[in-house]
């Protein structure tokens, strides 16, 4: 009779090779429970697995197990090999000579739900995703308690067995997009990912582009809004960022807070962000172009003060700007890497020491410091961190081309970026629209946050009808011909 326990012990030892400590608790001569002690909840284990097993008289088949074991998830298994990945995740393996089942008694370390740290808003719910995929799913399900919210689990990776979960509203999502995501994730089966940011790069349409093609967010309200808009959320176990796709270029400039502020202020804020986008990309290149080639466009009264402030500077505008822009980047990067308490000194170093001293030493002009600071402010106004980094990166070639070819260089670079954006796709959907975005009837009211007309259906409204005729989704082509 103890043969069974010995065999089990041998088999476990063979598979784990003594490196991993597996507890084997013999309940009776032909029943044993195996688990990794670090990962299981001991209360659950003793109250709902061990106690019932000890009291049980006769166990013949899997159904008996289902009756006896008082935990939510119990699965019958064919062999011990199938049990190992689950045991590594905190499940307990209950074995008898004929059958084995696994029961979920996991107690994996997880963080409490906390407030979003990187995507802060002034109003709005203070809920952020956490590293546990169960918590993330629970957060989304509790915000959208609807049957049509589906989730679909995909496993990923050789070693890590990462769980990837797709969530979407089955009645709103485009089935094509879900298929694209499935295919891409299946194609990458054998890679290992550590988090959603890494997965994003693996499954996005064009990884050669510097523009992010899908959104990453830690905010639950943004994710649930996107679900309602018919987008797909991809959750990765162990990562507190959710991927939202397909995304459009404009999505990166919208904050959920705009919706909480009412349509007037919300629209104003969105317009402000568009302005910030232009300021952050064009301000310093325009300075370089104007002072290198096009003095004529600056009115004479303004030109005097410009030249006065530049009179001590020995460098050409291009170098002057590049030096200051890179200093700015260094300050930002150093501030991001330092602990918060030390980080505050960065402000003093940056603002007073470098700013003031650089002008007095005759390195840069006062006006340029102001412009670079404005450009930096503009790039920080973009709600999405990945997009704001990209925009800062776009500025450098723009500055250099402005120094080489003046305004022609700036326009050349802008056209290049615009054409590049138009050519991108996100999960097979067009990424950038110059004319009207999205194939939805209430698009304008979403973009401009216009109040819904009371008592009018969207189809009965003439402006809505007019806007509807401006849909562009049918324009997508990938080929030159046709």
């Amino acid at each position: 009779m103890t043969d069974f326990l010995d065999t089990l012990r041998d088999q476990i030892a063979l598979r784990f090779q003594d490196h991993t400590k597996v507890h084997i608790r013999a309940v009776s001569s032909n029943t044993a429970v195996c688990y990794l002690p670090e990962l299981v909840d001991t209360n659950l284990l003793s109250n709902f697995i061990l106690t019932p097993l000890q009291q049980a008289k006769w166990i013949a088949n899997a159904e008996d197990f289902m009756r006896i074991l008082a935990v939510g998830e119990v699965k019958p298994l064919e062999s011990l090999n199938d049990a190992i990945p689950l045991m590594m995740k905190g499940w307990a393996y209950v074995a008898t000579p004929h059958i084995g089942v696994v029961a979920n008694v996991a107690n994996l370390p997880k963080r409490q739900i906390s407030a979003p740290e990187n995507e802060t808003t002034i109003h709005g719910p203070m809920l952020a995703f956490s590293e546990s995929i169960e918590t993330c799913t629970a957060l989304l399900r509790s915000s959208i308690p609807d049957r049509s919210l589906r989730n679909e689990d995909l496993h990923f990776g050789n070693k890590r067995h990462t769980l990837i979960r797709l969530m979407f509203m089955s009645d709103r999502v485009e089935e094509n997009c879900v298929n694209v995501v499935r295919q891409r994730i299946e194609r990458l089966q054998n890679n290992d990912v550590t988090g959603s940011a890494e997965l994003l790069h693996m499954i996005q349409d064009n990884d050669g582009s510097i523009f992010p093609q899908m959104l990453l967010t830690e905010r639950v309200d943004l994710a649930s809004h996107s679900l309602l808009e018919g987008k797909i959320i991809i959750l990765v176990d162990g990562s507190q960022l959710a991927i939202i796709g397909p995304a459009e270029f404009t999505d990166f400039f919208l904050s959920t807070e705009d919706r909480y502020m009412g349509w007037g202020i919300g629209t104003f804020l969105r317009c402000l962000r568009v302005l910030a986008l232009f300021i952050s990309v064009y301000l310093t290149p325009a300075y370089v172009a104007a002072l290198t080639f096009h003095y004529e466009i600056i009115p004479s009264s303004l030109l005097v003060s410009l030249i006065e402030s530049r009179s001590k500077v020995p460098f050409p505008p291009l170098f002057e700007t590049l030096i200051l822009e890179i200093t700015m980047e260094l300050l930002r990067e150093a501030g991001a890497r330092l602990p918060t308490k030390v980080g505050q000194t960065m402000g003093i170093v940056g603002g007073i020491v470098i700013g003031q001293a650089a002008v007095q030493a005759g390195f840069t002009s006062n006006i340029l410091i102001m412009l670079v600071a404005l450009a930096a402010l503009g790039s920080f106004a973009t709600p999405n961190y990945f997009m704001s980094s990209t925009l800062r990166l776009v500025r450098y070639p723009m500055v250099i081309l402005a120094g080489l070819w003046g305004s022609i260089g700036i326009v050349f670079m802008s056209l290049l970026v615009v054409i590049h954006l138009i050519r991108q796709t996100s999960l097979g959907q067009p990424y950038f629209y110059a004319i009207h975005p999205k194939d939805q009837s209430n698009t304008l009211s979403q973009d401009m946050l216009m109040p819904e007309p009371k008592g009018l259906t969207s189809t009965g409204h003439s402006i809505r009808k007019f806007i509807k005729s401006f849909r562009l989704s049918s324009l997508w082509t990938g080929d030159i011909d046709n």
Binding site: H294, I297, W405, I408, I419, L475
Partner: protein
């Protein structure tokens, strides 16, 4: 591919897009300085020539679309084959393609000339040509969607620039328009003919119409697009006549740019230094559209590789545009193209229109005889 019913729905677009597509080809570099050519012919009644040219264009547009409707919504390459047979038809298609590539060269070269005479006198021609051609290649490889989206941006740029023309109005002397009709019909017609280089480009409807989703609305929007560019030309012409004096006008090569030159804001003046580079947003979609038409043709007739064809077009345009050295040669090129485009976009559609009707009559006649 010859039958439009085989064009997948996702490549098609709504008719209202013609509103942006046609002006993006029509309005290009001609608008920089078309005033003096017309003024030379019809004097201060030049605006009447603009209206005349506009009306004729509307009629021709109607003919073009009717011709295509009669030929089961085919594009020009297919119409050539049905009307003239395989060999002559293809030869005619090649002639049309030659016209488009010459047109493209003229656009590139005239734009470079504008940049060189206003902003950078020493900017090498080949480098500017390369900039334009690189943008054209990169965009064309993205397909018609890039053209569609960019043409909307170009539409905004055009509209925004038009608003700027309010500024010269304060220096306008409206008496310069008087007396009305101080010329002869011959001069008016001659002036209208000179509009051809500026107004040409609407013949792209011959290739776009096949891809329009709701064809019943195509005529409406195509006429609307022409109306837009005609009104734009008319506004600029009227402002120019009122702004420039009688002796100034024939000497002003870049009339429209001169109008922008005097605009002054507290933080900005000499708007042309911004407007001319930004006009690239208008020029490049036009080039891309022509390249797209050319590639459609070469694929259809010669079955050439599309990517290589685009590189080839880019190389030809780049080399050809560096061959023109000075203002005289560019003027000559533009006036030749002007004459060429009168034939291609006015006489030729009339011919096709008549031939289509004759062919139909012939078929009906034969049909009734047999039965």
């Amino acid at each position: 591919m010859t039958n439009p019913e085989h064009t997948p729905a996702k490549y098609q677009f709504k008719a209202y897009m013609l509103l942006f597509l046609i002006p993006s080809v029509q309005i290009g570099v001609g608008i920089f300085g078309f005033q003096r050519y017309i003024y030379k012919e019809s004097g201060h009644d030049a605006w009447m020539s603009v209206i005349l040219a506009g009306i004729v264009t509307h009629i021709v547009m109607w003919m073009m679309i009717t011709t295509m409707k009669k030929n089961n919504d085919d594009d020009l390459y297919d119409i050539h084959r049905t009307l003239f047979g395989k060999w002559i038809g293809n030869a005619l298609s090649v002639v049309i393609m030659l016209y488009f590539i010459t047109n493209m060269t003229a656009i590139v070269r005239t734009y470079i000339e504008a940049v060189q005479s206003w902003i950078f006198p020493d900017f090498p021609t080949w480098l500017l040509g390369l900039i334009l051609v690189v943008l054209m290649m990169y965009g064309s490889l993205g397909g018609i969607r890039v053209v569609l989206q960019l043409s909307f941006i170009s539409f905004i740029v055009i509209a925004a620039t038009t608003i700027l023309f309010y500024y010269p109005l304060q220096y306008a002397d409206w008496r310069r328009l008087l007396p009305v009709y101080d010329t002869t019909v011959q001069h008016l017609v001659a002036g209208a003919m000179k509009m051809s280089f500026t107004i040409a480009g609407f013949e792209v409807i011959f290739f776009l119409y096949t891809l329009v989703k709701d064809k019943d609305k195509a005529l409406r929007y195509a006429q609307g697009s022409i109306l837009f560019s005609n009104l734009l030309y008319l506004i600029i012409m009227v402002i120019s006549i009122a702004y420039f004096s009688e002796n100034q006008m024939p000497k002003t090569i870049w009339g429209s740019i001169n109008l922008l030159k005097i605009i002054k804001y507290p933080f900005l003046e000499r708007i042309e230094f911004i407007a001319i580079p930004f006009w690239m947003f208008v020029v490049v979609p036009g080039m891309m559209m022509l390249a797209w038409i050319l590639v459609r043709g070469t694929t259809r007739i010669f079955k050439w590789n599309q990517k290589l064809t685009i590189y080839g077009i880019a190389a030809v345009v780049l080399i050809a545009s560096t061959c023109f050295q000075n203002r005289m040669q560019i003027d000559l090129l533009n006036s030749y193209i002007g004459q060429y485009s009168v034939v291609v976009s006015y006489y030729y559609p009339c011919l096709l229109f008549i031939m289509t009707y004759v062919r139909q009559w012939w078929k009906d006649h034969k049909g009734s005889k047999e039965s």
